[in-house]
Each structure stands twice: as structure tokens, then as C-alpha cells.
Symmetry: C2
Subunit: 308 residues, 2 copies
């Protein structure tokens, strides 16, 4: 048990960085991988005087030939059982980064992959109803696979909430929870699968880390203008909408989306028009970078009193 006092020796552990680098290209969400899509890029801490954030940033920018528009720490994974052969505990600090796709140099196994290759069930943009098929069957089998009636009910409730069954709405932010259920139900190969669900696995717990990154990003686009870091300098409103849809994994209402964007003054017209839209030419817009400084956050959600 930890000592948690003033005097203690910090334990010696092995530490590494793991990066979830995201782009959106042609309306598809993409993630930078190594080892032919089997793992996320990772590396040791460097001992220089620079911060983790800073050195990770220069590394990524050198690899992708694009500035990293946005970056934040995701989570630190340190559970036992991650020791990867060595006897010491491995601590992995993961980061989420947003950029634009460009050919990667160096490592031949490195490249961009559609993130729905790893989570096909998270893409609900087409009404393919992936979840409704042999997918749900595996989950049902799992909920039934216990002698205790209370556990069965709990499991079923959990499945319903997380997978949007039984009057529950699909909540696109619950990726990690869904992945964890699939793991518990041993429907993913990483868990030593019984059955299997479509979707490519990754080495170690990288698919879990990717799920954490996607979840964070899906939550973030709702209250912070981070999509723009994934867009080219100018874009049409539909392109912007397609990018958000790619991340969220579901379709958006066109008119309301547009209203939302412009009543928040997020973009301004460039004056140019896009011609190859397939239909009527569209106005091109650019992100008003000023809003990053102007606006801090929006949400209140607490009934504050004005005066005080």
C-alpha cells in the first residue's frame, strides 16, 4: 500500500509515451499508426530539459509535415499486467493530437488508417445496423451467461444503455465503455475471444487507448472549436459538417448545423467559391482563430445568481 506521506522514495518504473494522432481526410477519420496498423506510435521519455508535450509535438510535426494544431494529455495507463515482458511496471502517458494528413516519412510500417477499421460499430453514418446483427447476439449471450438473476438484469441494463437498445439513445461518447463490455464478454480477440466482433485488434492495450482518444475527441467537439484543427485553411460548410460527422460517427441535421456554426461566429467567408462540390458552388469559409482568444468557454448549467 502506498505511503502517501511527506517522506517517500519515488518508485522506479519504465515509462513511455503513446500518441493518438488524428486527421480527417475525405470525410474519413484517420489515425496515425505504426507496424502496419497494429499499434499506435510510442516512444520513451527523453531526458532532455524539454517538456513531454513539446518534444512529442516536434516529433509528430516532423513525421506528418503538418503542424499539430491541438494537443492534450489523454490518460496515464499504469495497471499491472502491462509489464510487456519486463518485471517492472510500465507507465504509459498518452496524448491526443489533431493535425492534417500527409505522407509519413521514415518508418515503412507507419501510416494513416481509418479509425473505424478498429471500431466498425462506432460508425453509424450509414444505416447499416451493424449493431443489430450477429453483434447483439454475442452481447445477449453474455448477459445470459450467469446463474445470478440480478447480474443478468444489471448486465442487460448496461448493454442497453451503452449500445442504445430498448428506448435508450445511442450515445456516441461511450466508446470506451462499449469496448470494455465487448472485452468482458470476450468478443474481442485481445480478451482471448470466445466469439468475435468485426474490427481489427491492436497490440497491447492500444485499441483501448485509441478508444479513449476517440471518446475524448467526440466529447470535446461539442464544446470547443477543435474540429477546425483538422480542416484545411478554407472549406465549405458541408465539408465541415462531414468532418464533424466523421468524428461523431453519426449524421447531422444540415440546416441546424449551419445555424449553429454561424450564430457562434466561428467562421467567416473567404470570398472564394468552391466549384467541385457536385452541385451548386459553395462559399468557402475560414476559421476565425480570434475566437480562441475571445471566447473562453460557454456552458453554465448551474443556476447562478446574477447579482453576486
Amino acid at each position: 500500500m502506498p505511503v502517501l506521506s511527506a517522506e517517500h522514495e519515488a518508485a522506479s518504473v519504465a515509462a513511455e509515451l503513446i500518441a493518438v494522432i488524428v486527421a480527417v481526410t475525405g470525410g474519413q477519420p484517420r489515425v496515425l499508426t505504426i507496424d502496419k496498423g497494429r499499434a499506435l506510435p510510442s516512444g520513451p521519455f527523453e531526458s532532455s530539459e524539454r517538456s513531454l508535450q513539446a518534444s512529442l509535438r516536434t516529433w509528430v510535426e516532423r513525421q506528418t509535415h503538418h503542424p499539430l494544431g491541438y494537443m492534450e494529455q489523454l490518460y496515464t495507463f499504469a495497471d499491472p499486467g502491462r509489464t510487456g515482458g519486463s518485471d517492472r511496471r510500465i507507465v504509459s502517458v498518452s496524448y491526443l493530437g489533431l493535425t492534417q494528413e500527409a505522407p509519413v516519412s521514415g518508418d515503412p510500417g507507419a501510416g494513416w488508417r481509418d479509425w473505424y477499421r478498429f471500431f466498425p460499430w462506432e460508425d453509424r453514418r450509414k444505416p447499416s445496423s451493424l449493431v443489430d446483427d450477429h453483434f447483439t447476439q454475442g452481447l445477449i449471450t453474455w448477459t445470459e451467461d450467469t446463474s445470478d438473476a440480478a447480474t443478468r438484469r444489471q448486465r442487460w441494463r448496461r448493454v442497453a444503455i451503452n449500445f442504445g437498445l430498448e428506448n435508450e439513445r445511442w450515445n456516441e461518447e461511450l466508446i470506451l465503455q462499449r469496448y470494455e463490455i465487448l472485452w468482458e464478454a470476450r468478443l474481442v480477440p485481445e480478451a482471448g475471444a470466445n466469439g468475435t466482433v468485426p474490427g481489427e485488434p491492436m497490440a497491447h492495450d492500444h485499441r483501448r487507448i485509441l478508444a479513449t482518444g476517440i471518446a475524448r475527441l467526440r466529447a470535446k467537439i461539442k464544446y470547443r472549436p477543435v474540429v477546425f484543427e483538422l480542416m484545411p485553411p478554407s472549406f465549405t460548410l458541408l465539408q465541415l459538417q462531414r468532418a464533424v460527422e466523421a468524428l461523431a460517427g453519426s449524421l447531422l441535421h444540415k440546416q441546424n448545423f449551419r445555424r449553429l456554426i454561424d450564430q457562434q461566429d466561428l467562421v467567416e467567408e473567404t470570398g472564394e467559391m468552391a466549384t467541385e462540390t457536385g452541385g451548386r458552388p459553395a462559399k468557402l469559409f475560414r476559421f476565425r482563430r480570434e475566437v480562441l482568444a475571445e471566447r473562453s468557454v460557454v456552458g453554465s448549467k448551474l443556476p447562478l445568481v446574477r447579482s453576486a
Copy 2:
């Protein structure tokens, strides 16, 4: 620069845990400290097979004699300059935990402290206008303290947004940003202060970590029913409101707060009444723990299309 490839040696670093343990007692927000309030509890990683989370939990529960209702990872601090004497980099994984106050056993330097001792300017429940006095003067001096006019404007804008000046609203979530400005302006002793602003410092970067914890909690109470982890089994609605106010650092609108609580079905009447309220006796309520399972999250904020 990190290698971020498939093959790498994970670097060897010193690692520790740091805990921000919060309670609310008598309408005041409290944090568990050691060393007579000069530091947050911290400890080394243990080498057992248990997860960090689990061992931290048992430690805290043994110290506080109260179950840790809620716990989440906060942030991992790993910037250089944190080496604390040793030559290796120190990685600190911080956690936020919610509980109820009880006398701490063991370490005589350990105890609970009002968190506004460390951040007096974050308590806006009384209209004391702490920010308006000698406090703002130091900030103004800092914004002026550069030869470049553009920098001056930027600094002023930043101060205005973060401290709620010039038509900007005070945003209670920006604690960390405010602390960082005070640091840059060298108004806190940790920065090797020029001037000083009221508020006790802490060892190392612990005040910064505490600010991170408070910010997280202030954000969280808006969309997750975590306040209840800080409440006794039964409570009046005003007590509940006072707890939220303690965390948020600002006053809430009574009627609207009550409406909010009951239209979300967060609580149910116990049938008992509280008599020592100072006024009319109040109904006692308890948290409906079921909602943790029932509801997943609320917010949509994206204009989804229904059908798809």
C-alpha cells in the same frame, strides 16, 4: 526527441502518486493535506499486482474512515524541473477523490484544510470583491510590463477573460488558468514573487495540482451527479445547494436549483424532517443511487438527425 516506433526501450523514471482528496464540511470545501497543509498526500507506486486506483482507494479509506465515493485520474505531471534533487525525471500521476471528512489517523501533520486558504480569490460567495483590490493592481502592472504593444493587448485580453473583467463573466472553471497567470506575473511565492497575492503556497507544484483538481471538480458537477458523494446519507436541499456553492465558489439561485434537482429525479424524500434548520423544518432527501445506472450522460449539443 522520442523515437515513437515499434522498438524502443521504455525509459527509467521515478514515479509517484499524488492525491487530491476532497470533502465538504459545514458548507466549506476541504482538502486532505500533509505536512501541516504544505503539501498534498503522495506516495510511491507499489509493486503489487493491484491497480493504482485500487491501492490508492484503500489507503485513503483507511486514513479517512470513510469510503471514497468517487475517484478519477486527474493529470500526469512530468515536466522537467520537477526532479526534486534527484537527476532522474519525476513522473507524478495525480488522482481526484471525493469523500466525507473524518479525523485522520497516523501522520500528525495530516489534516483537512479549507481549499480557499490556498485560493482565496476563487471564493466569490460573499461579495468581498477580493479581486478588485490590490489584487487587480498586480495584474495590471504585469500587463503593462512589456515594451511591445501587441503583447500588452494580449495580456490584458487574457486577464480580462480569466478574471472576469471588462464585461466578461467570471468563469469558475478557469482556476488553473488564473493560477498560471498569477505565476507568470510572479504574484505567487512559488514563482519567486515580486508582489504577492493572498493565499498560502504549497510545496513543489502541489498548489498547481490542487488547482487542476478543483477545476475538474467544478466542471464535473455540472454534468454528473458527483456532489452526492460529498454528502451525508440524508440532507436538506439547502445543504445540497450549499455544498455545490462551496465547490463552485459562487451563489446559486434557490428555486431554480431546486427545480433542477427534482426534474432530474436525482433525490427522493426520506420521510424524515430536519429540525435545526434555523427556520421552517426541511424535508430530508437521499440520493437516488439508481440514477448512476439509469442515466448515462445527458448533453447532446450536436444537431443530430433523428432518423439515422
